[in-house]
Assembly symmetry: C2
């Protein structure tokens, strides 16, 4: 064959947004050989920083977003997304538009354009930490079948775990992620603050924290549970509640979670 | 030198209790060459099972616990411990007695015997999972200085992380462990149950859960936080609360934890 086959990596991609998710996703695509054409962000520093890393141009003006790209990946917070929605698509309806939010249904694109979908990597992204995209589940949804195939191909370049999901399922997964990531992390944060007050280091808990998570790779969390609440050890529970007398917020959480653990084990 | 130096591993040890902690600790000591002489448990099955693995004898009668051991390690739940306390020590006051509880102060031994202490491995133990003792922090306390040295030597055979701690500090660490292990695990358990109702698998969350924990090895949990509560994204928070209308317990936890995350980020 003489004709060069155009590979999926040649698709010109524009990123709308340059926050944590946009940055990690754009970098992961860039490293896999994808061509990031442009980065838009209201914040010049964010836009220019990401653009530099992925060898793209950048703009802080929606009107200056290029019109010729094939794929626009929107990674804004929900409020900003909904506000900019019609304007950003205007004049670029030929292309495929996806958002990256667990919380937004696909139908937010309805009436705005014809080729749209969702590209949702389920992970917690922080600027200061690299992540291995290969392990991250990516949830795909698209209005048109051929766009879904195309998005799944792109996702498969990044990760071993690519799933088709409905908007409904994605919403549930996002809520589940809040419980198992944001809320558990907050329990660590409260614990750290409290230990520091006692001049003890949070670090001694890390082997325990690691093991707690290793366990749920092998056992159901229901079967992995241990501790005073599970045993309904009222002595210890009451001592702990007294120890938290100066921390009403932790005390309330302790009460609720201990009750819940005990009830759960009986159900 | 012709005289054989007696090594620390030759100390005859008796285990009072054969539950999760006793089993893991006894096995770890056994593998390091320590001599477990006897296992006591009210439950014959538990006693015989552990005794077989560590090549010890066993008994279900406190009166039959051997009198000649050097170290008695008590790993019972707090209530059972306090109930059996004077009786088990009677006639065995020459030996060193330790309990393994985060929650019990050392002074529970006071008046019962003269040589006593605490040997507290901070970890979550389940029968169905092996743990690497080398990483487990072990917190040591003893009434007499030479016993403390002795316990620290034993602990150092098992783990790289051996600390002297007061009863007060141990109590705080135990409470911290409840937050960062039992409570986080319960959030996983609630999430799993809820996802299963929606016919979704908990397993897709594992990369996120792993990353959440990897992050706190590098960042303070305060800096690692992400998600709608941190951004105070009321749209998403209210949607999530509505989605949990049939799960009042999760709804209440969602509300409390989200409020707490937001307040914490402002503090």
């Amino acid at each position: 064959m003489n004709r060069m086959k155009r590979s999926i990596e040649d698709t010109p991609i524009v990123f709308i947004g340059a926050g944590n998710l946009a940055t990690h996703l754009a970098k992961a695509l860039y490293r896999k050989g994808f061509r990031i054409e442009q980065v838009y962000s209201r914040t010049e520093l964010s836009a220019s920083k990401l653009a530099e890393v992925v060898e793209a141009t950048y703009t802080t003006q929606l009107a200056e977003v290029v019109k010729g790209a094939q794929l626009y990946i929107v990674a804004l917070n929900d409020a900003a997304f909904l506000k900019l929605l019609p304007e950003m698509v205007l004049g670029r309806q030929h292309a495929l538009w996806v958002h990256t939010a667990g919380s937004l249904p696909m139908y937010v694109w309805e009436g705005v354009t014809e080729r749209y979908g969702v590209f949702y990597p389920l992970q917690t992204f922080s600027m200061r930490r690299e992540v291995k995209f290969a392990e991250i589940p990516i949830f795909i949804e698209a209005h048109q079948a051929e766009d879904e195939i195309f998005l799944k191909k792109i996702a498969a370049r990044l990760s071993k775990r690519v799933y088709e999901t409905t908007s409904e399922e994605r919403k549930w997964l996002h809520l589940a992620a809040v419980f198992s990531c944001n809320f558990t992390n907050h329990l660590y944060a409260l614990t750290e603050k409290w230990l520091n007050k006692k001049e003890l280091s949070f670090d001694v808990l890390l082997p325990l924290i690691d093991e707690t998570v290793c366990k749920v790779h092998e056992l159901s969390p229901r079967d992995a549970q241990t501790g005073p609440a599970l045993r309904n050890d009222e002595n210890i529970i009451n001592t702990h509640l007294r120890m938290l007398a100066d921390e009403p917020e932790m005390q309330e959480l302790y009460r609720l979670l201990s009750d819940s653990i005990h009830r759960f084990s009986q159900s």
